[in-house]
Amino acid sequence: MTQYVERFNALDRVLHWIVAITFFLLLLSGIGLFAHTFFGYFRLFGGPHQGIMVHKWAGIVFFISSVLLFLRHLGETWRFDADDRRWIVKAGGYLSRKKQGIPQGKFNAGQKLFGLFAGLATIVMGLTGYIIWDPTAFTRELTQFSLMLHGAFFTLFMIAMVVHVYLATMGNPGTLEGMLWGHVTKAWAKKHASKWYAKMVKS
């Protein structure tokens, strides 16, 4: 009997990594405009023009793939049950070493919140990005507001991403494998997603 359960299929994984790579391209190519201190990051792309060009193309790919990823997971992420609410109250047990035996589905409540936020943030970044594509195309007020929102959601997205990356790697050993080649160990599944594991065992 195998020691693993399948968590993400090939399509899930490819989509996720397209989103991740374009996110970091967007981060590195956009940050030069965010503050003078980061202006030097444009050198990675050969200059501000090339950087902005990369940002625009990566923006299109990111928007489409991130919306698709959001829709693929929406079936899991939009529903919160009593266990999820308990998980949120206890902050997922991340605040102490004591075990918190709250059974969770495929995604825990924190992951669901992150998934929903990422969907919303993608749409906000995409819409505002479209408006500031040419900052003289729309009315001044709309462009000013969009520049502000693009910067504000950039900030929120970055912070959420730091937490996401930490919890998916160092914070929860064994999690990254699921997104790298699709399988997690049964021990991982029992510990982190017991309700999902029970369902997987049955089927």
Partner: protein, 257 residues
């Protein structure tokens, strides 16, 4: 260094537009084709080839007609929205005497600055680079008057030491627009009516979204990123990761965390 400024007394202006022409000549800007819109105002707005413009206010008063003229241009704000939003340090800058210049070599053609400017001034040329009135910094630094001021036959346009100009206008009993707005404008107007008649904002200010973007979001963003990295690191060395090896051998699919 003492701030320099323009004083524009609109009540003296005859709309001869010597200023428009002198600016074009000094800055080697080309003439543009325009259309007859049924007004003597021409062209109707600042363009990449027109750094100052005489705006006509033509009010129909029955048999009579009221004509007001104002020389529109960059206001050389002390608290300049264009400088605030420009991502490329040095593309827009303050000279030691408080004028706002630009450097096309540093301009990255992002077109943010027109959105930061409360007066809708910056324009973009055929290379997509910023253009606007630069107060003839090249002339001023060599002890000359700006070309438009030099050409003005009615003394509508004056240029010089900001405090002296303000004191002189006040002594003559004139009310000034822009003395204290945005840290004090580098272009002071004497107006014959309310500012909005001249399409000037009553209380010019950095647009609210732009303020929030650059003075709240930007610092919080930098702080927030490093804060999140710090919290993650702190979590790792205090609470630590959820390691699977710690689980007791449990054959049932119950449990979970």
């Amino acid at each position: 260094m003492k701030r320099k400024a323009f004083l524009i007394d609109t009540t003296r202006c005859t709309a001869c537009r010597s200023c428009q022409v002198a600016c074009k000549q000094w800055n080697k800007l080309t003439a543009e084709d325009t259309v007859n819109r049924g007004s003597y105002e021409n062209p109707p707005d600042l363009t990449p080839q027109l750094y100052n413009q005489i705006h006509f206010i033509e009010q129909d008063r029955g048999k009579d007609m009221r004509w007001l003229f104002i020389n529109r241009r960059c206001q050389h704000c002390a608290d300049a929205g264009c400088v605030k939003v420009c991502p490329s340090a040095g593309a827009l800058y303050h000279t030691p005497d408080g004028l706002v210049g630009f450097n096309q070599d540093k301009c990255i053609e992002c077109h943010y600055c027109v959105n930061g400017c409360p007066f809708d001034v910056p324009r973009y040329d055929s290379k997509q680079k910023i253009t606007k009135c630069h107060a003839c910094i090249d002339r001023v630094q060599n002890g000359l008057l700006p070309a438009c001021v030099k050409a003005c036959p009615t003394q509508t346009l004056q240029f010089g030491d900001r405090e002296t100009l303000i004191a002189g206008a006040k002594a003559a009993g004139k009310k000034l627009y822009g003395e204290n707005d945005l840290g004090g404008l580098g272009v002071l107007y004497v107006l014959d009516d309310e500012p909005d008649t001249y399409r000037l904002p009553k209380n010019p200010a950095i647009p609210a979204s732009i303020f929030f973007w650059k003075d709240v979001v930007k610092p919080l963003g930098i702080l927030g990123f490093w804060g999140a990295v710090g919290v993650a690191a702190l979590h790792y060395v205090t609470v630590g990761p959820k390691r699977i090896e710690d689980e007791p051998e449990d054959k049932s699919p119950k449990g979970g965390e």
